[in-house]
Every structure is written in C-alpha cells, then in structure tokens.
C-alpha cells in the first residue's frame, strides 16, 4: 500500500493532479493547479450529445488540465490506453507494485462507491488508484471526503465505460521530475495567457465567451423547439454541468478567482486581486443564473423567469467574463 495523502477537492481532475504532485513533494493547491492548467473554459457543443441533449461544459477536455500543469512544471508523465481490458488491469497492478500511484480515467455510472444521485453515463471522472490487496483496490477520489475501495470487476467496468468520450482504460502517472525548481512565476504568466486565448480567441461559436452567447441564443428558442418539458430537461442538464460537484453553481469561476488571488501574491501584482474580485462577480452571476434556472424548471414561486430573461442573464455573464479576460490579458502581457 502506497502512503498517499488523500486531500478532498472541488473538482476531480484538478484534485487528482494536486494530490499526485503532492506525492512527489511538489506543493500546488487545487486553485493553483486549475490556473496553471488554464482550466477555466466554456463550451456549448450541439454536435456532441449526452443523454440526447447538447453538451455544455465548463472545463477543457478531460486530461488537458493534467497535461498542461505537468508540462509547465517540468514533470515528465506517461499515459497509456489499452485495447485489452485484462492487460490494462495487469499494467495497473505492475505500476502499483512498483509503488507508483496511478491516475485512472473512469466512467461514473459503474463507480460502486459513488452516490446514486450522481451516477450518470459520464465518462470523464479521474481517480488515483493507490493500492491493491486481494483484488480490492484502494482509490483516492478527490470529490469524496475519504479514500474508498472498489473491486477488480467494478474497476475494470468503469475503465471501459462506453458512450460520449469512452476512456478506453486510460491510465497516467508521473514518471520523473525534470526540473526540481520550476519557475513558477513564468508558469503562471504563460498559463494566464493561454487561458485568455482559450476564452477569447477561438474563432468558432461554440467555445469561450462566444459559446456563452451561443447558449443564450439557442436557449431563447428551446421552448418553441422542444416543448416545455424537454426545454426544462435541457436547462437542468446545463445546471448539472455548471455545478458538477463543488463549483458552488459557478462552473469553476470561484476557484479561478482563488487562483488569481494566489497569483497576485506570487507575482506581486495587486491588479490581479481586482481581477479576482471581478471573476467572483462573474461567479456570483452564474450562481444567480443557476438559482433562477432552478426556479424555472421547478416552476415554483412567483418570480419565474422566461427563457428570454435567462438568456439575457447569460449575455451579461459573457460581457463580464470578456471584460475580465481582456483586462487580464493587457496586464499579463505587460509583466
């Protein structure tokens, strides 16, 4: 059994990354990991569906935060996918026998210890496997408070879940540390630049602030297109993704604000604290949107908004976030 310190976190991938780095004595808090991984994102993709509805996501593709952070910090990682299920489990066992904790991508639906309420066919959950004894694996799942155990068959099933983004037994681990003393300031600056670019510059309507506006435009037509029941389900799916465990209804905006505060101290740049406050405002607007949306699909209380009003809220959020990132970019390029 590997002496692995399990720290609960708000989000699975940033938590796994933070915990794995901590195991190799690199201290990076969860917000720091999110920031270094340029993990604040938005995408609304009608061409990818989950449960028959368009995917709305508040984070980059699974695995991107991990690979960006490790690259920035000069950590060499290895990743593998397997076509053969049994071989993937053997490889995991070998790695554990060497004393290396392994990050594993799983589907949530078959995850036996996971709360029933959250078990959808969602395939981008990250956990760290820290040990194996008699076919029972100990895992550190950052969104659960304590370490958990899972059986051989169940774990295999999770690693080979099917559906949107199937994991194909993906496994990743830290191989060696290339730069023991990484230049963290430089890493932060680069990561912020990348995040600004991701939110502002992708020339497609699905991503970044453009994506928020696209969701707003589509939302106005939902009721007419899908009828009231399906429209409500679509809205509920957006809120579920927005919350996705531990974001406080703000899709990581609060966590990114925490990162900006940390970066302000690190870079000695007080302007970052002001941006953190603006990012908090964007987060609060998301939270307000989530609450209004919940009233809408629950249809309760006197103050139920129409889809148009919800869309207006989204347009305001898009404007707020665009302003933050434009200002942030200006500052960071002057540093």
């Amino acid at each position: 059994m590997i002496a692995f310190e399990h720290k609960p976190a708000a989000h699975c991938e940033s938590g796994v990354t933070s915990n794995l780095l901590n195991f190799y004595s690199i201290k990076a808090s969860e917000p720091m990991v999110l920031g270094l991984g340029a993990g604040l994102f938005f995408s609304h993709m009608p061409f990818i569906t989950l449960h028959g509805m368009a995917v709305t996501s508040f984070r980059p593709l699974p695995g991107q935060i991990f690979s960006r952070v490790t690259r920035r910090l000069g950590v060499k990682v290895k990743k593998r996918r397997f076509l053969n299920k049994d071989k993937s489990m053997q490889a995991l066992d070998r790695l554990l026998a060497q004393g290396t904790p392994a990050g594993v991508l799983t589907g949530v639906y078959h995850l036996s210890y996971f709360p029933k309420e959250y078990r959808f066919h969602f395939n981008a959950h990250n956990i760290v496997v820290t040990g194996m004894e008699n076919g029972v694996y100990t895992v550190s799942d950052p969104v659960i408070l304590h370490p958990e155990t899972i059986g051989y068959e169940a774990l295999k099933r999770c690693r080979y879940a099917k559906g949107t983004y199937p994991p194909y037994g993906k496994m990743y681990w830290i191989d060696r540390i290339k730069t023991p003393q990484p230049d963290i300031k430089r890493a932060v600056i680069k990561a912020v630049k990348l995040n600004c670019q991701r939110m502002l510059d992708i020339p497609l309507p699905f991503f970044g602030v453009r994506g928020i506006r696209m969701l707003a435009r589509r939302m106005r037509r939902w009721e007419k297109r899908f009828g009231p029941h399906r429209a409500a389900l679509n809205l509920a799916q957006v809120i579920r993704m927005l919350e996705e465990i531990g974001t406080g209804g703000a899709g990581f905006r609060f966590m990114y604000a925490a990162f900006l505060q940390e970066a302000a101290g690190l870079l000695g740049c007080p302007a970052f604290r002001a941006y953190a406050a603006q990012m908090t405002e964007a987060g609060d607007r998301w939270r307000d949107f989530a609450a209004a949306a919940a009233r809408k699909f629950k249809n309760r209380g006197e103050s139920v908004c129409s889809y148009d009003e919800l869309a207006d809220k989204l347009m305001k959020i898009a404007a707020t976030e665009e302003a933050v990132f434009r200002a942030l970019r200006k500052t960071v390029y002057e540093l």
């Binding site: 708000a10 917000p31 559906g163 029941h229």
Partner: protein
C-alpha cells in the same frame, strides 16, 4: 460567493457523507476552502432529472405489461441507456437492438443474445426478462 452563502443552503442527501469542497470568500475577501453539501439549484436539477427518468420508465413499464414493448425497453430506460450506448456495450447493431424492443421478437431470442444483454446491463437473465 461568501462562506456563509456556501453554508446556508445545506441539503439533506440520501447519501449523507456526500459533501464537497467549495471555494468561498471569508470576511477579509480572501478565498478559503469550505465543506458544504452544495446549493439548491444542483439538487433541483438532479431531482428533476431523476423524476423525469422514473416517469419515462414507468410509462415504458406499462407498455411492457400491455405487451407492446419488450422488457429490454424498460431496462434501457431504467439504466439511462440509449440504443447507441447499448450497441457499444453489447456489440450488437443498433438495428438489431431496435428489433429486440418488440415484445414478440424478444420472446424468440436465443439464450446467447440474452446473456449479452444481461452482461452489458450487469443484471441476471431473469431480471432482464421481468419488469
């Protein structure tokens, strides 16, 4: 979000140990980690989704009982699967699975096919045949 706001909406869950980390502002405007069970909007979204699923499943169950559809159709709904997902798990084509949703066709299925469905859904063949 302030710490008090993160904590004020404590929810009762079926699984009480489920609490997660949130980032919220303390009195001095610095971000801190807090443990909370989450906000109401999330709970409402989850319960609406689950209500929708059980409602749809119940409707399918009635159709199965009246002999219009096969029990496979019910388990498909219950386990949040759709035809393409089940096709990926079983290796059967979508067209074949669609045929098996018909009650009569389902009754004539070979044991080997039933076994594939049962394994994909992680249930016994007996469970697969009943609703």
């Amino acid at each position: 979000m302030k710490i008090e706001e993160a904590l004020q909406e404590e929810l009762s869950f079926e699984t009480p140990q489920l609490r997660s980390v949130y980032y919220a502002l303390d009195g001095e405007g610095n971000y801190r980690q807090v443990l909370s069970s989450g906000c109401k909007a999330k709970m409402d979204a989850l319960s609406l989704t689950w209500e929708g699923i059980s409602k749809e499943a119940e409707a399918v169950r009635q159709e199965v009982l009246s002999g219009k559809k096969s029990p496979l159709a019910y388990h498909l709904r219950m386990r949040l699967l759709d035809i393409s997902l089940l096709s990926a798990y079983t290796g059967l084509s979508k067209k074949t699975i669609k045929k098996h949703l018909n009650a009569k066709t389902f009754l004539q299925l070979e044991a080997s096919i039933l076994k594939r469905y049962a394994e994909a859904m992680h249930i016994t063949e007996e469970e697969l045949k009943s609703v």
